[in-house]
């Protein structure tokens, strides 16, 4: 049984909060619900961005996801040196 939208959202946010690095690939979220198709997980992750619970981080050629406060923290450190 795939998780409901809300359960999946919570699982994704929990994963992004606990992960050692602030930026995650979309594939890192697939394990949050092995019963869901990859495209559904992508759609739910993008909805979390619209809700501002996640945010995008771009390396230029790859786009990653993360918790806004964690990403901003790291980005500030990066810009100051």
């Amino acid at each position: 049984m795939p998780l409901s939208d809300d359960e999946l959202k919570d699982a994704i946010v929990a994963k992004a909060t606990k992960a050692p690095k602030p930026q995650l690939y979309i594939k890192d979220f697939y394990k949050c619900d092995p019963d869901s198709k990859a495209r559904r997980i992508k759609n739910v992750a993008n909805e979390l961005v619209r809700e501002e619970r996640l945010m995008f981080w771009s390396s230029g050629s790859t786009t990653m996801y993360g918790i806004p406060s964690r990403i901003k923290n790291e980005d500030d450190k990066d810009q100051s040196n």
């Binding site: 979309i26 990859a38 961005v49 771009s58 786009t63």
Partner: protein, 424 residues
Amino acid sequence: MPKHDTPLLDELEKGPWPSFVTDIKRQAETKPECWDILGQLEVSFVDKITHWKHGGIVGVFGYGGGIVGRYSDMPKQFPGVAHFHTVRLNQPSSKFYNTAKLRAICDLWEKYGSGMTNMHGSTGDLVLLGTTTENLEPLFYDLTHDLKQDLGGSGSNLRTPACCLGTARCEYSCYDTASLCHHLTMHYQDEIHRPAFPYKFKFKMSGCPNDCVASIARSDFSVIGTWKDDIRIDQAEVAKYISGDNKPNGGAKSNASAFDMERDVLALCPTGCMRMKGDELQIDNKNCTRCMHCLNMMPKACRPGLVKGASILCGAKAPILDGAQMATLTIPFIEINPDNDYEAVIDVIEEIWDWWMTVGKNRERVGETIQRVGLPTFIKVLGLDPIPQHVKIPRENPYVFWTSDEVPGGFDRDVREFRKKHAQ
């Protein structure tokens, strides 16, 4: 007055050809930040290393692509380029604009950015070079509200689809490339604007095997127009090419009288499937590979057949981690049908995505995934039967192992039991 001395860059202004250094100096007269581009590049020439940094959290709200963050790693020396983000605009299909639209885009870019552009990027976008984080939202508002102009793709998104001129301008075209390109662009808006994949994914569409957008070399999913039936031959026009009344190659060769049917057409057909029988040109169409040579040499005499569609090729990429790679022919003929919203093409695209999104590694292009698992696996995923065109070198490997479901009636064998018999 130059803000920085740039003796090395100044070398690039010598000679009769256009120079980007001259262009940027001219732009710097009204946009002083452009001096810092030159200053920083001069330092890079000396240090032999780039001083640009990529990436970060720039973007406009709700979009996960279309803007590429760019920063200087020497912001104190070059404050004009401390932030210098790139904005990609989705070009219209086949790049048809009127000049009013181009002027409006340039005016907006003078207002919010450096005024420098790159037309077009290799994904096809109009590329606007150099603005600050604060200017992004106001620029995006004006673009979408006043110019009805959207951003293109970047990052791990579907990149802006691109196509050749197609039926709009070109009589070789076997399908309406602009229409398919527009359809896919609208159908996959979410994939273009928000990251969806392990890495970038590109669609490119050419109307015939001349492949003017180089889709075979530059896209993960290349749609190349082709035909199934016979090349249409007009024998009267063939005679005019032979007599010199028709200029070969649409007149592109300066010395038209030099045309020699044997040397310039028959002998250059890669499969040797053409011949002259008396005054009649004959083609063994079963052996024609649709290379376009005879059609290009004699456009009035040879035209594509009437049963038109496209070939699908997958997996081209530039040399990033591994070497560059051309696309592999995957489906030799597919229907291109606007009346059912290009159902056949969409089905293949989504079959590939569902597989690659799960099996592909992070930062692995679909062509690299195919290479890793092998073409036979990829063909199975798409539910295709192998055809001779999928085979690069016949019987390169003499060891063919059949699985039970590939043999009529199947077989039942316990490998461990089998191996026990051979144990020393």
